[in-house]
């Protein structure tokens, strides 16, 4: 652990200093403002819309951080050739990768905690103004949804590390990560659609397509599992066993990605 910490801390500090963070904070602030405005346009379920918007804002801002701050952090050492000075020190390449990733986890957790605080403030204010329209409401569910979103973002970041370990440019990593995010969020929907009886969807699906989708399903992360915003917005019951298995899945996927990234990075030849 002692060898990881300095790198983790440097990565975190670098991330916080990144100017993009301010831009993202501004976007988040504007969206929280919009939450207050839009939620009050709804006749009845003000609470639902407020929670919807607040959680979506957290998710969206976090996504921007992973995509535009996180990937940059990883690529900067390679682009600016500072990696040589780091690797000249007595740490292994895997330690370097793990240290960087720990720093990224720290960055995501801290920024998400701050955003969540803003979101909670926005919800509290709305709840005080429109108390009668928050009939089904649960802080627990909101915090849980928020936590799973953070785990989803860490997972996406882990995958971006994996991509960064074998691509030569940060732009390619960015594109691959965005594609993974879209696939990860939509794949279970696509799978469900293709597996539905053909009279329901109106066209025939070849067995080859189903096999391909199933293969992709196990390869790419199923990010939609971590999305319980709807349940949180309506205070629907969320079973502990679902949370347990989902968290386990997330952790396994993260460890797998980072281990693979470390292995590939160890063999990488620098220009």
């Amino acid at each position: 652990m002692t060898t990881f910490w300095p790198i983790a801390l440097i990565t975190f500090k670098e991330g916080i200093r990144n100017r993009a963070i301010y831009g993202i904070a501004l976007v988040a602030l504007m969206l929280f403002g919009a939450t207050a405005l839009i939620a009050t346009m709804v006749p009845r379920e003000v609470g639902k819309v407020a929670v919807d918007m607040a959680l979506s804002t957290i998710s969206f801002a976090g996504l921007l951080i992973v995509l535009f701050v996180g990937i940059n952090l990883m690529a900067k050492d390679l682009d600016k050739r500072t990696i040589y000075t780091v690797l000249a020190r007595p740490i292994s390449r895997s330690q370097y990768i793990i240290g960087k990733f720990l720093g990224m986890i720290l960055l995501i957790t801290v920024t998400m905690a701050l955003l969540s605080l803003l979101a909670i403030t926005a919800i509290i204010i709305l709840k005080n103004i429109h108390a009668g329209y928050f009939t089904r409401f649960s802080w627990q569910a909101i915090i849980l949804a928020d936590g799973l979103t953070v785990l989803m973002l860490i997972m996406l970041s882990a995958i971006s590390f994996l991509f960064a370990s074998f691509t030569s440019s940060s732009f390619i990593t960015l594109v691959l990560t965005i594609i993974t995010y879209i696939i990860g969020q939509s794949l279970s929907g696509v799978k469900a659609l293709l597996e539905a009886p053909s009279y329901e969807i109106g066209f025939n699906v070849s067995p080859m397509t189903i096999k391909l989708v199933t293969a992709v399903y196990y390869l790419f992360p199923n990010l939609s599992l971590f999305d319980i915003k709807l349940q949180a917005a309506h205070a629907l019951p969320i079973s502990p066993s679902f949370v347990l298995w989902t968290v386990l899945y997330g952790i396994v996927y993260i460890v797998l990605s980072i281990t693979l990234a470390a292995i590939i990075f160890r063999r990488k030849e620098f220009p």
Binding site: M41, R44, D52, S186, L193, A233
Partner: protein, 289 residues
């Protein structure tokens, strides 16, 4: 130097001025663009569900807000019918998609019910929406209650209405009155009284002033009919014959005068002894074929 600064300032001022004019004109011209039937497309829900990624709740909110904004925009139209057929279809599709993305969202159901029943005569569509919502919001007694009301008031299918009211009465914190109305509807017992009871229940649940007025008027009419019906029954019991006119009831002191029909018609007595109004059709909203 100063000349240059002035020239640049003048140029910027001119551009600002032009910008305001262009924006204003473009907005006005855009409103003139016809919004043809082609734009009435709402993407199918299975596709929307996938495309919305993790923002399904948000997309659902936006579709709903889009629908109310569109409907609100039609309110000050001069032409008749105010909302065109394809526009109703679009509203139906949009609200259905919104409730597919977030089936627990109450607002699309209530809004759809409000506009489809009174204005569009799309009772089946309203009931489809309500039934979908009722299936997801199992804690909510209002949705089956409204479905029951639509069956009773617009479709005049009392057995169906009773079924949905029963369902509503079984749900948490439902009004105990619902079960009693349901059973009376099912047994066709004291139709007028049950109708008044049902409408009063509905009046309590309605926020919209226009609907409230409609309900009040209807209740007033039904109260008049009820008064006459009761007098006819008493007459029959006492004299063992059916009265032939309301004057006979007045002569025997059973009523003081014939109540006025709030719809502007006149109540009359059928040879069978039942009380009717010349504006009978007014009592029912216009229905589509």
């Amino acid at each position: 130097m100063i000349r240059r600064t002035v020239a640049i300032a003048a140029f910027l001022l001119f551009l600002t001025f032009l910008h305001v004019i262009a924006l204003g004109r473009s907005t006005v011209e855009r409103k003139q663009l016809s919004r043809g039937e082609g734009s009435a497309i709402v993407l199918p829900s299975p596709f929307l569900k996938i495309a919305a990624l993790e923002f399904k709740g948000l997309v659902s909110d936006i579709l709903f807000l889009d629908s109310i904004a569109f409907y609100g925009g039609t309110l000050n139209r001069a032409e008749r019918p105010r909302v065109k057929e394809w526009e109703w279809q679009w509203l139906d599709k949009s609200l259905s998609a919104s409730s597919d993305l977030d089936p627990y969202f109450l607002d699309p159901y209530l809004f759809g019910n409000a506009i489809f029943t009174w204005e569009a005569g799309m009772i089946r569509e309203a009931n489809d929406l309500l039934t979908k919502g009722s299936g997801h919001r199992t804690w909510d007694w209002m949705l089956p209650f409204f479905t029951g009301f639509n069956y009773f008031y617009f479709l005049q299918e009392n057995e169906k209405a009773a079924e949905f009211l029963m369902e509503a009465s079984r749900r948490p914190s439902a009004d105990p009155m619902l079960a009693s109305i349901a059973s009376k509807l099912a047994f066709k017992e004291r139709k007028t009284e049950t109708s008044i009871q049902f409408l009063e229940e509905m009046l309590q649940r309605t926020d919209d002033e226009l609907s409230k007025q409609r309900f009040r008027k209807r209740i007033e009419a039904l109260r008049g009919i009820l008064l006459l019906e009761q007098a006819v029954a008493t007459y029959q019991k006492r004299y063992h014959v059916k009265p032939r006119s309301f004057e006979m009831l007045i002569a025997k002191g059973l009523i003081q005068n014939v109540p006025e029909d709030p719809y502007g018609g006149k109540f009359y007595l059928e040879p069978s002894g039942s009380v009717k109004s010349t504006t009978e059709r007014e009592l029912m909203p216009h229905r589509k074929k």
